[in-house]
């Protein structure tokens, strides 16, 4: 091996070692950032994104953490996640219990976003989907104690649609009704005004990310009554109408009323007043 060959070998070796060193630096940095950023991008359930975030994963690719949405928000609702907070660093979020989204009609936060991380396709704030309100604690919601509260129902900006009051009999008193706030997922925008306004110490209605708030029935369940209506008639051979063998003067309403006693007069029971009469019926 002559000198020039040796030198060439040495320089080749230096080049490869340099490459290895650099690649190692890149590897350490890349794996470090990757391992850190992997879990760091998860969003706590109490953190709500501004309107126009359709998908958290897409949002983290698109949001450049400039805070122009925060500047656009007239109610100081939005803030950027600070160092040490659980929300992905520098991204906009809000806490409903502190300051909820006021659902501005012109949606200034979305308009301010330079990258489209907040979807500019969102032009009707009622279509926003920041999360879903869930009446999460029935034990501490005073409506479930029979008290008239209805605050969440009244502050809801999608009034009468996103939250309705369902009346249920109060069996304890026997004469009052429960006014149960009920959230409807197809109208709720997740603005958090209900959570903010909830009168008890810790809110019993809370906005959660939709994937936590909702279950999924699965497509193997079909609602027979809806399928029937869609098809315009029964999809299978109709069942034979079931008949109970009932005493005289009674019939059964299959449409929902249940057992009906056809009474003639005050004491017209199907059994008569005396057990003997009943036993002797038919012999007379």
């Amino acid at each position: 091996m002559n000198d020039s060959e040796k030198r060439a070998r040495q320089s080749r070796r230096r080049f490869l070692i340099g490459l290895l060193k650099g690649a190692s630096a890149a590897g350490i940095a890349g794996l470090g950032i990757g391992l850190y950023a992997g879990p760091a991008r998860s969003l706590p359930a109490t953190a709500i994104r501004p309107p126009g975030v359709n998908d958290e994963d897409e949002f983290l690719a698109a949001c450049i953490r400039c805070g122009l949405c925060v500047r656009g928000c007239p109610y100081d609702t939005l803030k950027l996640a600070e160092v040490g907070e659980e929300v992905p660093l520098g991204t906009p979020w809000f806490e409903a219990r502190k300051i909820p989204c006021e659902m501005c009609e012109d949606i200034p936060c979305v308009k301010a976003c330079p990258t489209g991380a907040l979807d500019p396709g969102l032009t009707d704030i009622d279509e926003a989907d920041m999360g879903l309100a869930v009446l999460i604690d029935q034990e501490n919601c005073i409506a479930f104690q029979g008290l008239r509260c209805e605050v969440c129902y009244n502050v809801c900006p999608v009034h009468g649609k996103a939250i309705t009051l369902e009346l249920k009999p109060n069996k304890r008193t026997g004469k009052h009704a429960f006014f149960i706030p009920t959230v409807h997922s197809d109208h709720c925008t997740g603005c958090g005004k209900c959570e903010h306004a909830c009168v008890v110490e810790t809110a019993t209605i809370k906005v959660l990310p939709r994937h936590l708030a909702m279950g999924e029935m699965g497509n193997y369940y079909r609602l027979g009554w809806e399928e029937k209506q869609k098809a315009g008639g029964s999809l299978v051979t109709p069942d034979l109408e079931h008949r109970y063998t009932l005493p005289e003067g009674q019939r059964y309403d299959y449409e929902g009323q249940g057992l009906i006693r056809e009474q003639q007069g005050d004491d017209a029971t199907p059994f008569g007043n005396s057990a003997l009469d009943t036993l002797n019926r038919g012999f007379k």
């Binding site: 340099g18 060193k21 650099g22 690649a23 630096a25 890149a26 590897g27 940095a29 890349g30 950032i33 990757g34 850190y36 950023a37 992997g38 760091a40 991008r41 994963d57 897409e58 983290l60 690719a61 698109a62 949001c63 450049i64 953490r65 400039c66 805070g67 122009l68 925060v70 500047r71 803030k79 950027l80 600070e82 160092v83 040490g84 907070e85 992905p88 660093l89 520098g90 301010a112 976003c113 330079p114 990258t115 489209g116 500019p120």
Partner: protein, 315 residues
């Protein structure tokens, strides 16, 4: 022309003394003062909105809106969103193109020395390092930052996130001042300690991928430092001592057969500290075409060489 040859390099404690004597305060600190002015003004423009309600600039260095018309976006952040597989809206793209064009003209890493708030922190660390005469034990490769740049883009693509923004101290610090501090002071402290005591110019000169990105932008930059009057150089090496990217300065100081008089190295931050510190006024900001090498005199014909630059013998 005979120039008194300097016998040895100026010791760290005497850096700038000669320039102060010969040129006076303003000419010795001009670019440093202008640079600090620029850094602080830019930060202040972002801060007077949230602090005093005077909204000239909204947002931060990642993306901003000036006077409600001019969008500016950091092209490096935008590059990461592209790597993450997201196609941003036009506002951000236009903003990034404006910034891109600007730095391609005035020098990519001018961002580092004239805009970036971390520069004040690392310069302060370097000042302390010089005062305490701390020697580098840990030597890092200056190539690391380019590898980090590749790693950041790789992670962005692999995980579909803007990877560097999870750890970027530059935007972290700026955001902390504008939008709320949180624990960001810890990041500032970490970088200060790293630069002051662990390794010389570690962050800006060796690790930061943002700087690496802007270096690449400056490949064609119009404005560069020109060692226009090398014949006046007395080898005091003060320019080399203060330079944050020392390697960039050596090629233009070769007395015999330097390839160019322009500091064309992409890592030069156009900070102008060499211009300030040089008592014989070898350097000046110039256009990249005004190469002195090959020029008949290879010196600055405009200014006669001063005789007062002869060094005082210090007691």
């Amino acid at each position: 022309m005979a120039v008194a040859a300097k016998k040895k390099a100026t010791p760290p404690s005497e850096l700038g003394r000669e320039a102060l004597r010969v040129k006076g305060f303003w000419k010795t600190c001009k670019w440093l003062i202008l640079r600090r002015f620029s850094q602080i003004t830019i930060l202040a423009l972002f801060l007077i909105g949230p602090w005093f309600g005077i909204w000239i600039v909204k947002g931060n260095l990642a993306s901003s809106l000036t006077l409600d018309v001019l969008p500016l976006t950091d092209p490096f952040v935008l590059l990461q969103t592209l790597a993450a597989g997201y196609l941003p809206e036009m506002t951000a793209v236009i903003g990034a193109l404006i910034v891109l064009a600007f730095y391609m003209l005035i020098g990519g890493r001018a961002y580092c020395s004239w805009v970036c708030p971390i520069n004040i922190v690392t310069d302060a660390a370097q000042w302390l390092r010089t005062q305490l005469n701390i020697k580098s034990e840990l030597k890092l490769s200056r190539a690391n930052r380019y590898w980090f740049l590749a790693a950041v883009l790789g992670v962005s693509a692999a995980l579909g996130i803007i990877a560097w923004e999870f750890v970027n101290p530059v935007s972290m610090v700026q955001r902390a001042l504008i939008f709320g501090m949180g624990m960001a002071w810890a990041i500032i402290l970490m970088i200060f300690l790293l630069d002051a005591f662990i390794s010389r110019r570690a962050w800006c000169g060796h690790l930061c991928p943002v700087g690496a990105f802007y270096s690449l932008l400056g490949k064609t930059s119009l404005i560069r430092v020109n060692a226009v009057a090398l014949d006046r150089c007395d080898r005091c090496m003060e320019c080399f001592a203060v330079c944050p990217e020392q390697k960039v300065i050596t090629p233009v100081l070769k007395k015999n057969g330097r390839p160019t008089s322009i500091i064309k190295d992409i890592n030069c931050t156009n900070c102008g500290r060499c211009i300030d510190i040089c008592s014989t006024e070898v350097f000046r900001f110039d256009l990249r075409f005004n190469d002195r090498v090959g020029h008949p005199a290879d010196s600055d014909p405009a200014e006669p060489v001063k005789q007062s630059h002869q060094r005082e013998v210090l007691p």
